[in-house]
Every structure is written in structure tokens, then in C-alpha cells.
């Protein structure tokens, strides 16, 4: 399926390109990186209108997953601003404490 191949190559090239650009400019904000990934993913999906309906449905479900990630980033940033706590670090400490 050449259309699927083109879609995968385009998406992989864009994501890798963004990662390289961010590392070249010493960008250390992971939330910004994730947001750009999300925007690129949504844009490429909109451009590839002609994917078959079954694939499109599946990719729409991936949208929700990425939005959940984005919502988590926003929520953790809000928590950090309001209460000066990083939920990721807290979660990691809890996991480390429970590990034998």
C-alpha cells in the first residue's frame, strides 16, 4: 500500500525532523515538544484525507490518546503554577518507593 507507506514516511520524517531541530536549538521544554508533535500529527492526518475509513477511525482514536497526553501536560503545568508540585515527579517517587 503505497499511500500507507507515504503516510508513515511523511509522519516519521516530520517527527524526526522536529526532534533534530529541537536538539539543535537546545530546546529543553518537553511539553512544547509534545505539543508540536500533536499539531504535526493532526495536520498530517487532515492532509491525508483519503486514508480508508477504517484506518481513519483508528487514527482518530490515537487523537484522543494524544489529547489525553496534552491534557496531562496542561494539568501538571497548572498544578506546578498553583501548588509548586510536579505530578510526574511525585508519581515517580511513589513508584520508586513501592519498588523492592
Amino acid at each position: 500500500m503505497r499511500f500507507y507507506d507515504s503516510y508513515i514516511i511523511l509522519m516519521a520524517s516530520l517527527l524526526l525532523g522536529i526532534t533534530i531541530i529541537f536538539s539543535m536549538v537546545n530546546e529543553t521544554r518537553l511539553d512544547l515538544c509534545f505539543t508540536v508533535y500533536l499539531i504535526v500529527y493532526l495536520t498530517v492526518n487532515e492532509l491525508c484525507l483519503y486514508l480508508n475509513p477504517k484506518a481513519r477511525k483508528g487514527l482518530n482514536n490515537v487523537n484522543y490518546l494524544l489529547f489525553a497526553g496534552f491534557a496531562f501536560i496542561v494539568a501538571s503545568n497548572i498544578a506546578e503554577i498553583l501548588w509548586q508540585v510536579n505530578p510526574v515527579e511525585i508519581a515517580w517517587r511513589i513508584i520508586c518507593a513501592r519498588l523492592p
Binding site: M1, L51, N52
Partner: protein, 257 residues
């Protein structure tokens, strides 16, 4: 989850690799670019798994083999019955279920006036005259409409989107499609067609190539009118399909009144 396709296997490889890269870079290396790389690999892994799930399991060679066999059988049938007239593609409203094509038994080109759904038989009478008899058959376009989310709409944009989705996205038969409709004609330009068919085949001469058959079925279903493949010209890696839209004379009279 379906892991039978190469996209599925690719996704299954990328997803754990991404998780390993992400966790290693977060815990040991503390490197943001590598964490970002891990996230992007995970995203690619999920995309590949999703595409693998929607990808057909049977090979393209098997599909081609099945199609060639069906075309050969239709060829034999048409030659035996000596059918030469171009097929008339009918919408589902005139076939009682799925869109089909009728092959008139008489050779002279004419536009029959079909007003009521035809019976689900092989040989049917479709007109008022006794010689209005034809063979009602399913085409590639008859079954392909199931691959669409909903019935195609009547606007040019919807017709173009549906034909492109099927020919480019689903079947991978072409590089691109352009559609224009006007003056009882629909012109479908297919760029970089990938399926070569023999123009000497009786089935192709009467029913058109698979791409033309799909386009005719979609236009017929979208407009709710019968359609004939008027011509199919291939040049410079482009195929131009001209479809004649048969207006129902009674409907025209009603609209004039």
C-alpha cells in the same frame, strides 16, 4: 489486535523500542531530546499498529488472481451471449439493494427509461418494449460502496472525495483523482493509474476498467441516475474517463412543469 501485516509488526517493534528509549533517557541520561525521540517513536509505533489493524490480510497477488478469474468468466459469458452494448450502471434505488450494471441485449446505443426497481434476476426486462431485455450483473463498484462510511452525496466535492478515498486511499489504484460534472457528463481524471487492463477484453469493452466501473457506480449512486461509461482514454500516465449521466425523461418533464 491484528499483527499479520507488516505495519502491525513494525508497530510492535517500534512501540517497545520507544518505551525503552523514553524510560532510559528519563531515568539514566536525563536528556530531553532523547526523551522527545522516545515519544515520537511511541507515536509512530501506535500509528503503525492502527494501520496494521486496518490493512487487508490477503495479498495483492491473490486479489489480482481473483479479479483476473472473474474478468475471464465475465468475458466468456459476454462472448457467449454476444453482448456488445456498453453497460448501464444503475443506482441501488433501481436495483433493489446494491448498485448494479445492466447489459442490454440489443446493440444499438440508446437510453432506456428505467423508472421502477428491477427484479433480482440475471436476465431482466427493464423497459416498456419487448426488446428491452438485459443481463443484470454486479460489478466491482457494486460491492465497493460498503467500504464507504455512508452513501455518497450528490455534490461534486462529495463524489470526488469518495472516488479519491476508494481509488487512492483504499485500493491504491491511482495517484490522484479529479472530477468535474456538467452538461450530463462527468469527467474523472485519474493520474498515475496502477492497474493495467487489456482493452481487447470484452468485459473491459462493455463494463469498463475496474477504476471506471468504480467511478461509474459511485456517480450513479450519488446522483441516483443511470450512468454509461462513454469513453476511457489513457495518455501520459493519466486516464480520462467520461461518464454519461442518463436523465430520466419523466423527471425532466416534471421539473419543466
Amino acid at each position: 489486535m491484528m499483527i499479520d501485516t507488516r505495519y502491525g509488526w513494525l508497530g510492535l517493534g517500534l512501540l517497545p523500542a520507544g518505551i525503552v528509549i523514553l524510560s532510559t533517557s528519563y531515568l539514566l541520561l536525563h536528556s530531553i531530546p532523547i526523551i522527545a525521540l522516545g515519544i515520537s517513536v511511541i507515536i509512530m509505533g501506535i500509528i503503525c499498529l492502527v494501520l496494521g489493524k486496518s490493512h487487508p490480510v490477503i495479498s495483492a497477488e491473490l486479489s489480482k488472481l481473483l479479479m483476473d478469474t472473474v474478468v475471464e468468466n465475465i468475458d466468456s459469458l459476454l462472448e457467449e451471449l454476444d453482448l456488445k452494448a456498453r453497460a448501464l450502471y444503475l443506482p441501488s434505488s433501481l436495483c433493489g439493494g446494491r448498485p448494479k450494471a445492466i447489459l442490454p441485449l440489443q446493440c444499438e446505443p440508446y437510453c432506456p427509461n428505467i423508472t421502477k426497481p428491477l427484479p433480482q434476476r440475471l436476465i431482466v426486462s427493464f423497459g416498456e418494449n419487448s426488446e428491452d431485455m438485459g443481463v443484470l450483473i454486479s460489478t466491482i463498484g457494486s460491492n465497493i460502496l460498503d467500504m464507504l462510511d455512508k452513501k455518497p452525496g450528490a455534490s461534486i466535492e462529495e463524489i470526488a472525495t469518495n472516488i479519491t478515498t476508494l481509488l487512492v486511499g483504499t485500493l491504491d489504484l491511482a495517484g490522484g483523482v479529479k472530477v468535474s460534472i456538467g452538461d450530463n457528463r462527468a469527467i474523472v481524471k485519474i493520474s498515475h493509474p496502477r492497474l493495467k487492463t487489456s482493452s481487447y477484453s470484452r468485459a473491459v469493452q462493455t463494463l469498463g476498467s475496474p477504476a471506471a466501473s468504480i467511478a461509474a457506480s459511485i456517480v450513479a449512486e450519488a446522483l441516483g441516475k443511470a450512468v454509461i461509461i462513454e469513453s476511457e482514454i489513457s495518455k501520459n500516465r493519466e486516464t480520462i474517463i467520461t461518464l454519461e449521466i442518463i436523465s430520466n425523461p419523466r423527471e425532466e418533464k416534471k421539473s419543466l412543469v
